[in-house]
């Protein structure tokens, strides 16, 4: 059974929602559907929420790593070759705190970057389907279907008012 993707273009988000409802009724799983738009669409999500993104976790982990790294950097390097400078202590809370604060932020930023790429599935290594016309507006619904569901999928999306249907 070969898997093909049906790319259905709708002019209104409402039509796309209608099509999704029909496809769900016909037993197509939400995991095999994907909605693509040119801007984030406010309101109810098109598909039932799969998993919330874990970006906050990524950021917090990065911040924790940054904290430990910054603390280690400022204390260990100072103690490694202790030099008295200006009568100040070798390791002082102010300077260690400052460096640690900055590295915490750095860790959070870098972790957010990596996490975002992971969570959004970028770069598109799996070569998932895409319809370039979506940038001019409208909604594209991508449905993965096997051979036997092709007809039902096509009828469902056409009935909902798809302006164009492609198969890849």
């Amino acid at each position: 059974m070969t898997q093909t993707w049906c790319l259905a273009k709708f002019s209104k988000p409402l039509d796309a929602r209608l099509a999704i409802r029909r496809l769900l009724q016909e037993g197509i799983q939400p995991e095999s559907m994907e909605v693509m738009t040119s801007q984030p669409i406010h309101g109810e999500p098109f598909l039932p929420e799969k998993k919330p993104t874990k970006l906050r976790t990524w950021a917090l982990c990065g911040a924790a790593l940054g904290l430990l790294g910054g603390f280690a950097l400022s204390t260990v390097t100072a103690l490694n070759y202790p030099l008295i400078k200006g009568g100040m202590p070798i390791v002082s809370p102010w300077t260690v705190g400052l460096i640690t604060y900055e590295t915490t932020m750095l860790g959070a930023v870098l972790a957010t970057l990596v996490g975002l790429l992971v969570e959004t599935g970028l770069p598109n290594f799996k070569n998932l389907p895409y319809d370039p016309s979506v940038v001019d507006g409208g909604v594209v619904l991508a449905v993965a279907c096997g051979d036997n569901s092709r007809a039902s999928v096509e009828s469902a999306v056409s009935a909902a008012g798809a302006t164009r249907v492609n198969w890849v």
């Binding site: 984030p40 098109f46 300077t95």
Partner: protein, 454 residues
Amino acid sequence: MATPNEAQINRDLLAPLFKTGPKYYIALALLGALTSVVFIAWAVQLVYGIGMSGKNRPSFWGLYITTFVFWIGISHAGTLISAILRVVQAEWRRPITRCAEAITTFALITGSLFPLIHLGRAWLFYWMVPIPNSRYLWPNFQSPLMWDFIAINTYLTGSVTYLYLPMIPDMAVARDKATGWRQKMYRTLALGWRGTERQWVAISIMALIIIPVAVSVHTIVSWDFAMTVMPMWHSTIFGPYFVVGAIFSGIAALLIAMVLIRHYFHLENYLEPIHFDNLAKMLFAMSLLWFYFTFTEYLVTWYGNEAPEMPVFWSKISGRFAPLFWLMVVCNFVIPFPILAIKKLRTIPLIVFASSCILVGMWLERFLIIVPTLTHPYLPYNYGTYWPSLTEAAIATGTLGLFVLLYFLFAKFSPMISIWEYEEGLQVASKHAGELADPSFAGQIVPGDVHPGH
């Protein structure tokens, strides 16, 4: 005014990427010439020695550190606009965020050159980088300059990240509209963005972290001065003073950038007078804050009448630096105050004039913080004078060319108004309009709809 549909928006905002006129190339050539002045003068300085600058004893720092603080200050534009306005969900920020974030990134890159330029032995700059090395030596984390190093690098990483991530959907639009080598470039940069729901949810989680980083960066830069014992440097006000001054100069630079982009890219429908008006009001608030901090600092100094500080104070108020000092006050407060306060005067041309004055005034402010103190140290026998040399002035002014050059190149490479955010704004606006018109309307028609055939 009719709301443009998405195809029109894409065309308008992508037009500069695909079409370039002769005026751009001429400007580019001029900027290239100005930028090359920086590198030529710097090469001269590297070969002959830092003595090619006008610095001396006791003015060990001069134009380079002035301009360094100036550029790092300008880099605070992006953070304020993007991050803070996003947090408070101010919808009018949408066409401005990309311009602002670009200013931040390129101002930081330009400013970061100066810690290299002003080094006596610049080829050894890597000794300040905290990585294990064959000398078994680490840099000194007690030094404010090392705090600068860490903070500015963190801020640069953060601002490049938060410039690039919201750019990805726009890179995808460019990819879908471009041909030839451009399409290959945008395809790489778009990283295969498809605009799925999950991707939009992720990218809408925006940069709160960059706000505390930005505040800390300019505070740490101010501590290059405040952590010393020198008269009128060792002041607790420097942290907030510099942050306020940075945001002040940043908004002024942003206004000028916006005006140029609006004019030369024909984006009058997107960057509307209301955007300039709102930013001008923020600039006004910053001008008042700047004046408040300056007045406080000088009043407290005068009233305290401390012997080491008074020569510095009087040199600025009535002495050798008085013309520059009062010019600074005029540029930062006297001129902008009526222009930004009176609605009739808050026109785009006058706002640009006020912003330009502010940029001059803020550069002067940095200069007047550094040089009068250095030329009047504790022991009066060591008072000195400072005149910038030709090499020094060439490098400092040339960095303006570098900054504008980088910005110019960026404007041809990425849409200067964030397409998806702008479209999202239209969606939000018409949804609110629909809800206001008929509360039962909510959620039925989701705007952003495109009629078939357009």
